[in-house]
Amino acid sequence: MANLLDDKIRQQIGEAFKELREPVQILFFGSKEQCEYCDDTLMLVEEVASLSEKLSVQAFDVDDDAEIAANYNVTLTPGLVIAGMDDDGPVDYGVRYAGIPSGHEFSSLIQDLILVSGRDSGLSPQTRDFLAGLKEPVMLQVFVTPT
């Protein structure tokens, strides 16, 4: 398989991945319908995951695995769920990507992998207090572009 990432980038990511602590699984959701970036996204996350034994990828199809996609609230493809991984399987922390994480978002992906791996949000005590008492669902969608 041809590499999407050059040696220098792979080396930098490898360096950053020394911070990985607990296992993380990337759940990939693709579609056989028109999905311009599905193949590239899957290749990208598989390549990233190959750089650390703490990372794994599981690939799903939003139609063939409709129930799983619904469980994770994934409708847009390519879709990624950055989940913790323990003995019972993936643990959903509600971290999602819709669309290919390229450009600036590629570094966000690497940071999210490290964050989920550390099982620590790094947030302030005030924010943690508020979130701990939260009774209603909150959906945050951060719109970005690759450049």
Binding site: A98, V142, T145
Partner: protein
């Protein structure tokens, strides 16, 4: 924030791949954070404290 609470889901949306959704929320520039499907919105960078305030505001709407 999503990590801290089961109630929170955080999604990064690549705006140019999902134009329909971007149009629906009138995304003009990025980053733009949409809270609870349009109840709240935060254009530009979202420092933790400000985002928290916007979420609280959105929950009251």
């Amino acid at each position: 924030m999503a990590m801290e609470s089961d109630m929170v889901q955080a999604e990064m949306v690549e705006a140019s791949e999902f134009r329909e959704l971007s149009n629906q929320y009138h995304i003009m520039g990025v980053p733009d954070t949409v809270i609870n499907h349009g109840k709240g919105k935060m254009v530009g960078a979202a420092p933790e404290g400000q985002l928290l305030a916007e979420i609280m505001k959105a929950l009251k709407n």
